[in-house]
Amino acid sequence: MTLHSGHLPVLELNAEDYEYEMSDYEGARARWCPGCGDHSILTAVQRLLAAEQLAPENTVFVSGIGCSSRLPHYLKTYGFHGIHGRALPIATGIRLHRPDLTVFVVMGDGDCTSIGAGHWVHAMRYNLDLVVMLLDNGIYGLTKQQTSPTTPQGFRSNTQPRGSWLPPLNPLQIALGVTNASFVAQTAEWVPAHLYATLRAARQHRGLSFVRILQRCPIYSSAVYLEAVQHPANIRMLVHDDGVVVHELDKIYTNQVAHDPHDLDAARRIAGATDRVNLGVLFRDGSKPRYEETRRVPPRTQAERVALIDAELDRYAI
């Protein structure tokens, strides 16, 4: 932790008194393109960390590969920039071994819904206490405009130049279909107040919080969310006291629907609706079993273990 200028003098600094500010979480300077939605997400994350007063040394951001997965480099917390599609297994290992750490996972749509789709489904089922962010821009950006599973049908890319052949995969429906899923939400980076509130709700949920963040790529898929960005009427806000309510947005996003996030059937119906873009918490259930708790075992000291091994060897003694 670094002492922030204007704060308490060094000698009187006590970790318990120290208040983290957004700047305490600033890592390397972000190198995303100007206008990239990831910048907004980075800011929301830093705001969340400060709001939650998470100690940087006890916070870990794990990512895969892609533009979005650079995010850990731009934070001053522990970070693990892994390999394509495999952020979730790494995060699983961290949580299993160190439940004292707060772990966030950052993935792109290629990472999460394509090459890492298997891990995604199983991680939802393990329901470890993780905030999992899918930064979904509907395109492969870092490798320069290839179709992803969430690319809209007909969208032209370098791998499908006559337009994407298939209807896009709906990440919300998949997430809501997984046994033991405990938190599923959708937000958009161009609505920063909603983004922040959703991440905060995700962080406060105990279990795996899956947040799909609609994210614009100004270079390769700027048109994907254009309608929703330009016309707030195309957005449907799901509001509920147990979900996300951002009153400052009421005047812009007038299309609001009360949705109880404990109602899984309703959540599935909403996830499947294609008339509008839904933002809000679709589902949450804090009572679902969490894998790191299910698997918790009493720790052993070195000496205890030696004695136990000796007893175990008796079973094999001749």
Binding site: M1, E57, V60, A91, L96, G118, V297, V306, L313, A317
Partner: protein, 644 residues
């Protein structure tokens, strides 16, 4: 070699038959129980092996496993069973051929005959009910099998196993194995109290009634043998050598992992590695550890890497196809210098290959399978005892060198069972408790010592660290760096660690004379068979020695110096190599054994190889033959030898 005397009646039923019978005193004997799958031959063999070990014999046992779970009955392919080699000295391998077999039908016996598993003068005790079966096809099959078997000097003893069992139980299929165990206990004069004790242990999860029924069948077999067999076999116990334990190599790997203080095993089921996790799943939690069965092989290694990153070194266990899937993650672990232990219990390949059979053909895949330059450590335990200790060594190296350590075991060690010196667990074998102290000011993520490439590890939770590790090429601060020179330097730092590790190793000892005509070089599970072959060849006056490598990456030091003291150097391995003299095969295009390829490149010595992929462990006898033919060539060819 063996002596025949008149038997003194011993044991419970010893006096029963009272007839004069031969007592064969031998230094060793190899026993097999074969049946259709599911008839319990393996349990019978396991109990016999355990009792023999407890009575002080040297013992090595191997499973005979069919590829299918429930193959159709009475087909040679379905032979399932257990082979136990017992001796008056420690037994280090499965030996050459079976000298006494108990078969539940003639078809499985035929399978063993056709595989050349039976010694020419073997005693074969075979269930005889098939000879008079009501199905004429079965009777015909019996006749034709007997005709085929009669081509050898086997001594075939028909035994009415089922008929006998029916006097006690309704379903003889479920009891024949205990009857067979009783016969073996009589023949080899096993201590019946120990046998009963072992039965109680084997059926500890079953009811008292099942135990009693099994013991009754055991005693019936013992009594029947006492009345009807005219021979007994004596294999004196080995000289006592301190406290021993007996287990298979996979149990040893699991216990070794526990003793190393590792607390997380992430795995995905794959034969023949899975039984490590079966064992650990049963006991690990008592030791403060867990087995995480991941959704796939890739996730398994990812979870282990995540756990290692966050705390104590974790491990994953797999076999060849799984290792292939883990490849990309291994590269990440090397690049991020993440300590990690990967156990590969090798099987036959490529692809699904021979899933239940032994092979040593993943060495090059383990070493070179990763993309880019990915230096890491490879260790191969040579014995079941070493399967235990290798895990402690692997964990310590992984931690101290911030390195990936691949442990190459194989199906021979995995399923072989033998006694070994009881380990004395030590707190120093275990990982230290997590250090969450603040990182010293200015310490970088990879504070490489410029001479050694070593750097202190930092785990999350330590104030002042907050590094982001990455699979991208990076500098000391873990900053992504594309500037010229950074990748060169970081590659050198990662590679240097192997040279530093090698500087701490000793040259491998030479078994036999330190110079001579032929040096055999082996690795992994073949040590016992190779050294037995060397002993036999030396007893015949041949100038042959052997050396056995545990470290394959880095290679153990001083090899070239050792090799130069022999006229010829040859690896013996269970992997494929082209045979010289086969069509199209030349010295240049010949594809060689995997270790020989490594040794040739690192020593520039013309290391030859003799390799086989029979889907079974190497027999010492066949290695002796290979030695003979090499030495014959060496002595009779003007160009023989490679050191001139």
């Amino acid at each position: 070699m063996h002596t025949e005397t008149e038997a003194r009646p011993t044991g419970e039923a010893g006096a029963a038959g009272a007839a004069r019978r031969k007592l064969l005193s031998v230094a060793e004997h190899t026993i097999e129980i074969v049946s259709d799958a599911g008839e319990g031959a393996q349990k019978c063999g396991q109990i016999f092996g355990a009792v023999s070990a407890k009575m002080g014999n040297g013992v090595w046992t191997v499973e005979i496993i069919p590829a299918e779970i429930q193959p159709p009955p009475r087909v040679p392919d379905g032979a399932s069973g257990y082979r136990i080699r017992i001796g008056s000295q420690p037994v280090t391998n499965w030996g050459d051929a079976t000298t006494l077999a108990v078969a539940f039908n003639e078809q499985v016996l035929l399978a063993r005959h056709r595989l050349d598993a039976l010694a020419p003068d073997a005693v074969l005790l075979v269930e005889d009910k098939w000879a008079t079966d009501e199905d004429p096809d079965i009777r015909a099959a019996w006749e034709s099998a007997m005709a085929e078997l009669s081509g050898r000097e086997y001594r075939i003893v028909p035994v009415p196993m089922e008929q006998q069992c029916l006097t006690l139980v309704d379903n003889p299929r479920k009891g024949k194995n205990m009857f067979a165990l009783g016969m073996l206990a009589y023949i080899y004069d096993r201590d019946m109290d120990r046998v009963r004790e072992q039965i109680a242990y084997a059926f500890r999860k079953k009811s008292e009634e099942i135990y009693r029924s099994n013991v009754a069948l055991l005693e019936l077999g013992y009594a029947w043998a006492g009345e009807h067999l005219d021979f007994r076999i004596e294999v004196a116990p080995a000289p006592s050598s301190g406290a021993l334990v007996v287990m298979n190599g996979n149990e040893a790997l699991g216990l070794g992992a526990i003793a190393s203080g590792m607390e997380l095993c992430a795995m995905y089921p794959i034969t023949p590695a899975t039984s490590v996790s079966h064992y650990l799943s049963e006991v690990f939690e008592r030791f403060g550890g867990i087995v995480h069965q991941a959704e796939d092989e890739i996730a398994a290694v990812g979870v282990a890497i995540g756990a290692s990153y966050a705390g104590k070194v974790a491990f994953t266990i797999t076999s060849g196809p799984g290792l292939a899937l883990k490849t990309e993650f291994l590269g990440l672990a090397v690049m991020t210098e993440m300590p990690l232990v990967v156990v590969n219990v090798q099987r036959g390949g490529p692809s699904t290959g021979l899933p239940t059979k032994v092979e040593q053909s993943d060495l090059l895949a383990a070493l070179f399978g990763q993309t880019g330059d990915a230096p890491h450590v490879i260790i191969a335990p040579a014995t079941i005892e070493e399967c235990f200790h290798v895990m402690v060594t692997a964990r310590r190296i992984a931690e101290a060198f911030r390195a990936v350590v691949i442990v190459l075991s194989d199906a021979n060690l995995a399923t072989g069972v033998t006694p070994f010196a009881r380990p004395k667990p030590d707190v120093r074998w275990q990982a230290e408790p997590l250090d969450l102290s603040p990182v010293p000011d200015g310490q970088k993520a990879y504070q490489w010592d410029p001479r050694t490439g070593l750097s202190p590890r930092v785990i999350p939770g330590r104030p002042g660290g907050m590094y982001t590790v990455t699979g991208l090429s990076h500098d000391e601060g873990s900053k992504v760096a594309y500037s010229s020179g950074v990748h060169q330097h970081s590659s050198a730092m990662r590679s240097r660690k192997l040279a530093v590790l090698q500087s701490l190793l000793s040259p491998p000892p030479v078994y036999g004379e330190s110079k001579g005509d032929l040096l055999i070089v082996g690795w992994g599970s073949t040590k016992g068979a190779i050294e037995e072959a060397v002993d036999r060849a030396r007893a015949d006056g041949l100038q042959v020695s052997s050396t056995h490598l545990r470290f394959l990456s880095p290679l153990e030091p001083g090899l070239k110096k050792i090799f130069k003291r022999f006229r010829k150097v040859m690896t013996v391995e269970i992997n494929y190599s082209d045979e010289p003299g086969e069509p199209f095969i030349t010295d240049e295009n010949r594809r060689r054994g995997q270790l020989s390829l490594l040794l040739r490149s690192s020593t520039l010595v013309d290391v030859d190889c003799w390799t086989r992929v029979p889907g079974e462990p190497l027999r010492p006898g066949s290695i002796v033959e290979a030695i003979r033919s090499q030495l014959h060539y060496l002595h009779h060819s003007p160009r023989g030898g490679n050191q001139s």
